[in-house]
């Protein structure tokens, strides 16, 4: 399940917007300008079912997202969808992995507390006995130069 964000969870001054997510889910987003730096040396890992519903997260994922494991597993992965991310990026992600290929990109993710963090993400299909049973994403620390490029580029893609 995915709920509207609640003011009591937010740290700092926030803006409000309603995002239209896949499958007509509308979600109220509360977001701040507070960035959490990517932790050195760690990987943020999650796995989803074929529909993008989270089935597994590692500890770094939990720590960086600000959610509890119980809130994440069973939720659509768009629980992290930040309003500054252009929809075209995720269309490209899904088009690529549905072809059975690997997708890579820079993503600004939304935290439960309204803040954000940048990652360099790779998504691959999990093939078992010739069938796609889900997808895995591994994020690593992005270079600041690449992030700055995306900060300029992404607003032009809406």
């Amino acid at each position: 399940m995915i709920y509207d964000m609640k003011p009591e969870d937010i740290i700092g001054e926030y803006k409000e917007v309603t995002l239209q997510l896949y499958r007509s889910i509308a979600r109220k987003i509360l977001y701040t300008e507070i960035e959490t730096p990517y932790p050195d040396g760690k990987l943020i890992v999650s796995t989803t079912d074929p529909d993008g519903v989270i089935t597994h997260v590692n500890q770094s994922f939990i720590d960086m997202s600000g959610y509890m494991e119980e809130e994440l597993v069973g939720a659509p992965h768009s629980i992290l969808r930040h309003p500054d991310m252009p929809p075209a990026a995720f269309k490209d992600l899904w088009d690529t992995v549905k072809k059975g290929e690997k997708w890579q990109g820079f993503v600004k993710n939304l935290r439960k507390d309204g803040g954000y963090y940048w990652v360099k993400a790779t998504v691959i299909p999990n093939v078992r006995n010739g069938k796609v049973v889900g997808y895995t994403s591994v994020r690593r620390k992005p270079s600041r130069t690449k992030v700055e490029e995306c900060i300029k580029l992404y607003p032009t893609l809406f």
Binding site: Y38, D40, G41, K42, L43, V45, T47, N58, K102, Q104, K120, T122, V123, I124, N126, R128, T136, S137, V138, R140, K141, P142, S143, R144, T145, K146
Partner: protein
């Protein structure tokens, strides 16, 4: 015909005799003729795998993908409490505090250990460094990686974390860690090839029981392990998927 057992060439040389002792133990337990073949480098070992000569292998995570997906190998066990982690270190005198402060043209010392090099290069990425803009200083051992840093022949060293931690305190005092990976799910594994797979469960059980018997405990000690833990098919598939996301 004896089965052939081999060990990834990135094992620590201190445990060379340990693998021979382990192989003797394994032959006694299984009643099979198993010949241990040690290769000096990754290329000659890979060739042997390609030629279907290998039946049992203590494989590094990099080779595991190929072994499972192209050669039909299955996982048996991993050493308890071990994970492959990498360290980025510099000379203690180096002013650099963060990988982001390194610049293209930086001299990077590493060994040909493929997963450690990969993890190291990932940790250099936040500094906009990649294979195209670093100067490699290829080193035979991690001790030599350290020496290159001490002599100023390299600016940055990529180490297997275990190997770094094992360096003498005199050397470590002259080095400084910039980043230590905490990935925890990438590890070596003992894997079994198609010709021996009818014995998979039996061998797996023997290995899991190894630390419960006196002889077994001694053999484990000579390998530097406390015991073996089971690796099931899905855990191995997950690790392979994860490695797959990291190779680009």
């Amino acid at each position: 015909m004896a089965f052939m057992f081999t060990v990834s060439p990135d094992f620590t040389p201190d445990h060379l005799s340990g693998w021979y002792i382990f192989n003797t133990w394994l032959q006694k337990q299984t009643g099979e003729g198993i010949h241990l073949e040690m290769y000096d480098d990754f290329n000659s070992q890979r060739q042997a795998i390609k030629d279907d000569k290998v039946d049992l292998i203590y494989a590094n995570p990099f080779d595991a993908a190929m072994l499972v997906r192209e050669k039909g190998f299955l996982p048996l066990v991993k050493a308890d409490g071990t994970a492959d982690e990498a360290i980025i270190a510099v000379n203690a005198d180096n002013k650099v505090e963060d990988v982001a402060h390194l610049s293209p043209g930086v001299k990077v010392a590493y060994t040909d250990d493929p997963d450690v090099k990969m993890m190291g290069m990932i940790m250099l990425e936040p500094g906009d460094l990649d294979a195209t803009n670093i100067v490699p200083v290829i080193s035979d051992t991690y001790v030599l990686v350290a020496k290159h840093l001490l002599k100023g022949e390299a600016d940055v060293g990529i180490f297997l974390a275990e190997a770094y931690d094992d360096l003498s305190s005199v050397i470590k005092k002259q080095l400084r860690i910039l980043v230590r990976s905490q990935i925890s799910v990438i590890h070596h594994a003992l894997m079994i090839g198609p010709n021996l797979q009818h014995k998979r469960e039996e061998i797996q059980q023997m290995l899991l029981n190894m630390n419960n018997e006196d002889k077994g405990q001694g053999v484990l000690k000579s390998l530097g392990f406390s015991g073996w833990g089971k690796v099931d098919d899905e855990e191995m598939e997950f690790m392979i998927d994860l490695m797959d996301t990291l190779v680009m």
